[in-house]
């Protein structure tokens, strides 16, 4: 409604605070219990946990879809309701949640991101059109603007919804499984984009099962199992012990002793996987790379391997 309210939240004062949030559903099921963490401007944070651990409940609480019975969520010091009104929160849904045969074009979808900034009748102005074009160009989808959304590949679909979040100018962006069903190039592009957005002082909260790539692009991690098990910088929190705590016996867990893979340098290697890319631990913590540059061949090999599966 009021564009100036969006711009008034500058990078520095933006934060997302989840304080002692408990959510229970009408059927008596408790989705989340006493969850607390805080994120500051310029953060990419991974949200990691098994299915049913409360990840989507947490998203819903941040989006105001469920109301916590205790505790509160504050975004830049505002209530969820006010934050939504000010268009601070954007959401990139999972592919399964979207009706792909809905009769809308790529441009229509991205334009929907602008609704909160438009007048009562939602008639796009020049500014809205400009931002839609800019967002689509940023994710490299401008050439597809008149396609019906179902006619895109998995990666392209993801980019369109990212463009919608950009057009919305959300400062806190929630991404639900952004790398599922996505090709390697798109994954790279999305990661590059997330880094750019971090540079602009936004907060990205990424729910993912892709344990192996978390260290690559996330500087923060929230481990969740009905409640927040651990939260903080990736280097401190993303440890074998914490992950085992979070996943209990659910993770596939291979421990290679001296006799198998790496006998010669006598390192014990542990491999954790939640059915997507595995996370490998050595003696001194995880051994995933945090930058792809210089490892293009590895990435390529990996992608081919994944396609084979």
């Amino acid at each position: 409604m009021n564009p100036s309210s969006t711009t008034s939240v500058t990078g520095n004062e933006l934060d997302l605070r989840v304080e002692n949030v408990t959510v229970s559903y009408p059927n008596g099921h408790t989705g989340l219990q006493d969850a607390s963490f805080a994120l500051h401007a310029g953060t990419i944070c991974a949200l990691v946990g098994v299915n049913g651990s409360g990840k989507s409940t947490l998203f819903k609480a941040i989006m105001g879809l469920v109301r916590p019975v205790t505790g509160r969520v504050r975004i830049a010091g505002r209530t969820v309701r006010d934050a939504l009104k000010a268009n601070l929160v954007a959401y990139v849904p999972q592919a399964e949640e979207v009706d792909w045969s809905f009769p809308v074009s790529v441009r229509d979808v991205v334009m929907m991101g602008r609704y909160g900034h438009m007048n009562f009748l939602r008639i796009p102005r020049a500014e809205d059109r400009r931002l839609v074009e800019e967002s689509l160009r940023r994710v490299d989808m401008w050439d597809y603007r008149d396609r019906q959304i179902g006619e895109l590949s998995g990666g392209q679909k993801k980019r369109v919804f990212l463009a919608r979040a950009l057009a919305q100018q959300g400062r806190v962006i929630l991404l639900d499984e952004p790398f599922t069903g996505v090709d390697v190039n798109t994954e790279l592009a999305i990661i590059a984009l997330l880094r750019e957005l971090r540079g602009e002082g936004r907060i990205m909260l990424v729910s993912t099962h892709n344990l192996g790539s978390v260290p690559e692009y996330c500087d923060h991690v929230v481990l969740i199992k009905r409640t927040v098990m651990a939260a903080g910088a990736t280097t401190d929190v993303y440890t074998e012990e914490n992950l085992l705590n979070t996943f209990g016996g659910v993770l596939r867990h291979f421990r290679f002793g001296d006799s198998t893979v790496q006998k010669h340098d006598a390192r014990a290697v542990t491999l954790l996987t939640d059915d997507e890319r595995p996370l490998v631990f050595g003696k001194g913590g995880h051994v995933e790379y945090s930058e792809r540059r210089g490892r293009e061949d590895v990435v390529k090999e990996r992608a081919e391997g994944e396609e084979d599966e």
Partner: protein
């Protein structure tokens, strides 16, 4: 030849036929507009349910001498509130809940009418009675149509987003509860408006078929609305006209026409039709075999 022309022009020489044709056209167009949202939201059963649930309201309104639209609208909303309540409180599937609630309302209507038989004619509620519509009823219908078109015309973008991605609507700060209720209220209102044209049993067709047909023909929401409205308007005008030759079964004629157009779109649709799909399969097969 002149005889045939004379016969064909005959319906137009009666005032009541002209009135019926025009009113049907208006109602058909309005329902078609709404049908785009109903089909995309997956609310077809809801349309059916509400159109049946308005019956007791009509009966009561007649007894106490209120405008029938008020009573009908009230029970329509009551029924949808009841469905929402039962759905939230139990583990029953939505379709089952809808089935139980709307049949209960309809049965209540039938019971009321059978208890006080002389007051209301059940058949005119179930099948509509556009040929005998009173001026007061025409006025009610036009008011309802105007309100519906006004709300849809002003808010269609929000409603489209609500149908497409309710979470996003919510994240943008839109009041999704209000949008949900708006759509339900419009559904009740149009069900009431079309009650006299096609009757409770066939209202759902007016609220589903044009949208479904347009959906087969285009990939753009704006065009979908245009096609649906054009179809609703055309079939209603022609159907009401044709009903002169079919003993006044206006609803039957309109809905049969709509179903025929749906079949045509289903078979010949340029992109999503059966023939187009078959051609696509053939092309794929011929590519696969060198």
């Amino acid at each position: 030849m002149t005889d045939l022309l004379h016969t064909l022009a005959l319906p137009l020489s009666y005032d009541y036929m002209l009135k019926a044709i025009l009113v049907s056209g208006v109602v058909g167009a309005v329902c078609a507009f709404l049908s785009c949202f109903v089909t995309l939201k997956g609310w077809s059963l809801m349309g059916d349910a509400i159109s049946h649930a308005v019956v007791p309201g009509v009966a009561v309104a007649y007894y106490i001498g209120w405008p029938f639209a008020v009573g009908a609208f009230a029970t329509g909303v009551l029924a949808s509130a009841g469905m929402g309540f039962v759905k939230r409180k139990t583990k029953l599937r939505e379709d089952a809940v809808i089935g139980v609630v709307f049949t209960a309302f309809f049965a209540l209507g039938v019971l009321l009418i059978s208890l006080f038989p002389s007051e209301v004619d059940l058949r005119s509620i179930v099948f509509g009675n556009i040929l005998g519509i009173s001026d007061a009823d025409v006025r009610q219908m036009l008011i309802i149509s105007a309100i519906t078109v006004g709300v849809l015309g002003l808010r269609w973008r929000d409603l489209m987003l609500f149908c497409f991605d309710a979470n996003q609507a919510r994240a943008l700060g839109l009041n999704t509860t209000l949008l949900h209720l708006t759509l339900l209220a419009l559904l009740s209102a149009t069900a009431v408006a079309s009650l006299q044209t096609v009757g409770a049993a066939l209202v759902v067709a007016m609220l589903v078929t044009p949208g479904a047909t347009a959906y087969l023909l285009t990939d753009r929401f704006g065009r979908m609305i245009a096609i649906a409205v054009g179809m609703g308007l055309g079939t209603s005008l022609v159907g009401a006209y044709a009903s002169y030759f079919f003993d006044g079964s206006t609803g039957g004629c309109i809905v049969t026409l709509q179903s025929l157009l749906f079949i045509v779109a289903l078979v010949f649709g340029p992109k999503h039709g059966l023939l187009a799909a078959r051609a696509k399969r053939r092309a794929a097969a011929s590519l696969a075999t060198p």
